[in-house]
């Protein structure tokens, strides 16, 4: 799952995948803007066929936060 998430982020932000890690901060390390966050969540929803509530987006600070949310959502 981590590799898949990193791959999507890498493509979206045009950042080499090998420089993105589980503890990478989406804003402070990877340069995400608010718009990027909302846009990227839409891509995760399409990719994993899940629904991400607004309140969960607010809690996604690192790559690992995304991984944990998607793992939980896809197990349900």
């Amino acid at each position: 799952m981590l590799e898949k998430i990193i791959s999507i982020i890498s493509e979206y932000q045009d950042i080499p995948a090998d420089t993105i890690h589980a503890d990478s901060h989406l804003v402070n390390d990877l340069g995400f803007t608010s718009y990027d966050m909302v846009s990227l969540v839409g891509k995760f929803e399409d990719e994993f066929d899940i629904e991400v509530p607004d309140r969960k987006i607010k809690l996604m600070k690192t790559v690992d936060d995304i991984v944990k949310f998607i793992e939980a959502a896809t197990e349900e």
Binding site: V27, G31, Y35, S39, G42
Partner: protein
């Protein structure tokens, strides 16, 4: 006053290195945390614009490290001047004021309904969907809402509350040269400080 730098293609690596070396350590570390050089450049430029604005308008040469509220809004301790910073792929902007202020700049990108539905009311979505230029209409709305959320200091968490721009005074400006949209929130309409429309200055690398 609002300061715009939207000639990022003219911001050379040499100018960036010079600015980076002049930054206080805490800000340098923040800039260098970014993976991409372009993000580092934007972070450095935002701070250099703020330094320029405070020096030109208030004669402030040095100021202490930012502190951030729980939603990430920066401020400077013991400084009565209010400021707001924003950057997108092709522009960096800075607003300074004697009153609370919020600013946002975004590249004009193709309309995305999945993004719009997150922050727009049903009525706003209907208007957007009927519009002739949804790309511009939506980015204008996004920047207005984000400028309001930054003014109020609640950041992205406020965006999802589907805030209405009707309660606030927000100036917008399209920046065709860089294909960006800029919004500046001056406050709620009932506030007497909102009748002073800020001057907007375009800044070149040579100015900094």
């Amino acid at each position: 006053m609002v300061y715009i730098f939207d000639r990022l293609d003219q911001y050379t690596d040499e100018a960036y290195e010079n600015h980076l070396s002049s930054l206080p350590t805490w800000r340098k570390e923040k800039a260098l945390q970014y993976k991409k050089l372009d993000d580092r450049k934007r972070s450095v430029l935002a701070f250099v614009l703020l330094q320029h604005a405070l020096r030109e308008e208030y004669g402030i040469i040095e100021f202490p490290e930012f502190v951030y509220n729980e939603f990430g809004k920066p401020s400077v301790p013991n400084l009565s001047v209010h400021f707001s910073l924003s950057h997108c792929k092709d522009a960096v902007v800075c607003a300074v004021s004697n009153h609370n202020i919020g600013i946002d700049v975004e590249n004009i990108v193709p309309y995305d309904h999945d993004v719009a539905r997150r922050i727009c009311s049903t009525a706003e979505l209907e208007i957007l969907e009927r519009g002739k230029d949804r790309d511009i209409d939506f980015i204008k709305l996004w920047t207005m809402k984000e400028a309001i959320s930054k003014h109020d200091g609640r950041g992205i968490s406020m965006l999802y509350d589907q805030i209405s721009d009707k309660d606030y005074v927000v100036c917008t400006r399209e920046m065709p040269q860089s294909n960006c949209m800029l919004s500046i929130c001056l406050g709620q309409k009932c506030n007497e400080n909102t009748n002073i429309i800020p001057t907007i200055l375009d800044i070149n690398a040579d100015d900094l």
